[in-house]
Amino acid sequence: MVLAVRLREAVSLADRFPLLAGVTLDVAEGEVVHLRGPNGAGKSSLLRLCAGLAAVTSGTAVVLGHDLCVDRQSLRREVGLLGHSSFLYEDLSVERNVVFAVRAARADVAGVDAALDRLGLVGRLRTTLVGNLSAGQRRRAALAVVVARAARLWLLDEPHAGLDAEGRTLVDDLVRDASRRGTTVLLASHELDRAADLADRTVAVVGGRVVVGELPGERRGAATGAAAPAGPAGGVRAADAEGVGCDVA
């Protein structure tokens, strides 16, 4: 088994404030993992760390084979993050935003049309400035970026928030399709039933740590946190799995 995410006692600080207080987590490639936990538990920070946005202060963090203690920059082209913000430019059209993001990631712009169609961003919506969109339409545009970039790792922070019923079903379908293609998905959600239904397993994040223990959302016999999935016996390359660790004095 190849690990997409391998964290060992990963700590992340914002100034002196601990965002993550020692997270240990393995996620296999192609796995869909639901992160649950109360507000302020560190779910968003964990996703930002996996995207290479939040710095690892100590511990080990290897994502898609990139050691985040050494280089966060090269990872970023390979991940798609749907955050609380849309990460879009208000004075650019939906289509221009998606094309910019795809070109920046050196992905194929031929996938832009399909991604916009899939997200229902058709007709005049494509050429509408993002600043003129509703919250739900912005969310769809941000999702179109994730889809069009063909990222290997999807990091979805409350992906159903702000969407109508059709949009929420669409998110579910997108995650299932991505999983079938072998994309790894980490999704943080308070919609426990919906997210648990999508996920191969659920892990709890509390106080900036992944907590091991049985959870109501746990499915398919998988354990939580560092205990699951199976270890590196399935063929994780040593360099990818270990990382150098980053201890900042």
Binding site: Q73, S85, F100
Partner: protein, 225 residues
């Protein structure tokens, strides 16, 4: 890096084409500054007037003030709805982002300088001589200004007091550029371009040094912003 720079410059110029902030606000602001200097130091009658003598310095002070507005706008578009995170997440080469943002800013400032040159000639009663030196000084000084502006733009973008922090950081760093550009323009307008070549060299050195510094430092600064 160059591919990423083109992508970022194209994005910034496209946003400017849509929002028209530079054309609709920065250029009029600079024109008002030039006009206010004229009211304060005028009237401009002949080459011996205070206004006519001070024209090169007033021109570059107006350009400096307008540059602050343009830099703030350039980084304000990255602050909306988490766009700066999007830029970091994009995977673009930070050096390419720096060069792209500086190039977009520079092209806007060069247009501004053309407009201001006409305004100075008209309002301050200065005959435009030494065209090559004037143009060369504009290009070299603008390159230095946008390099410093982009470096300190990203530094101040993460601060809560960004509106006041940027001018405080920016003006002391560009004082040598202001001095050299003024001297160079003075020589050109006086019809003695040979006196200004040395100052043009100084501008070129500052431009190269600041552009090199920005290319190296922009990545870590963007991460900390």
């Amino acid at each position: 890096m160059w591919r990423d720079a083109l992508l970022v410059a194209g994005k910034d110029l496209r946003i400017e084409a849509r929002s028209k902030v530079a054309i609709g606000q920065v250029v009029p602001f600079a024109l008002v500054v030039v006009l206010l200097f004229g009211l304060a130091l005028g009237p401009a009658v002949g080459r011996g007037s205070v206004l006519s003598q001070a024209a090169p310095g007033l021109f570059w002070v107006a350009v400096l003030l307008a540059t602050v507005l343009a830099v703030q706008r350039s980084f304000a578009i990255e602050a909306l709805d988490g766009a700066s995170d999007g830029l970091r997440l994009s995977g673009l080469d930070p050096a390419g982002i720096f060069v792209g943002k500086a190039a977009a800013l520079g092209s806007q400032l060069l247009v501004l300088e053309v407009v201001l040159t006409g305004a100075v000639a008209l309002l301050y009663d200065r005959h435009l001589a030494g065209g090559l030196l004037l143009a060369g000084s504009c290009v070299a000084a603008t390159a230095g200004l946008v390099a410093v502006g982009t470096i300190y733009g990203v530094v101040s973008s993460g601060a809560r007091q960004r509106e006041t922090l940027l001018p405080l950081l920016f003006f002391p760093m560009v004082a040598p550029i202001l001095l050299a550009a003024t001297k160079s323009w003075d020589a050109a307008l006086a019809g003695t371009p040979g006196r200004g070549i040395g100052w043009l060299d100084v501008l070129a050195v500052f431009a190269v040094a600041y552009l090199a510094m920005g290319t190296v430092a922009f990545g870590p600064l963007l991460e900390d912003a």
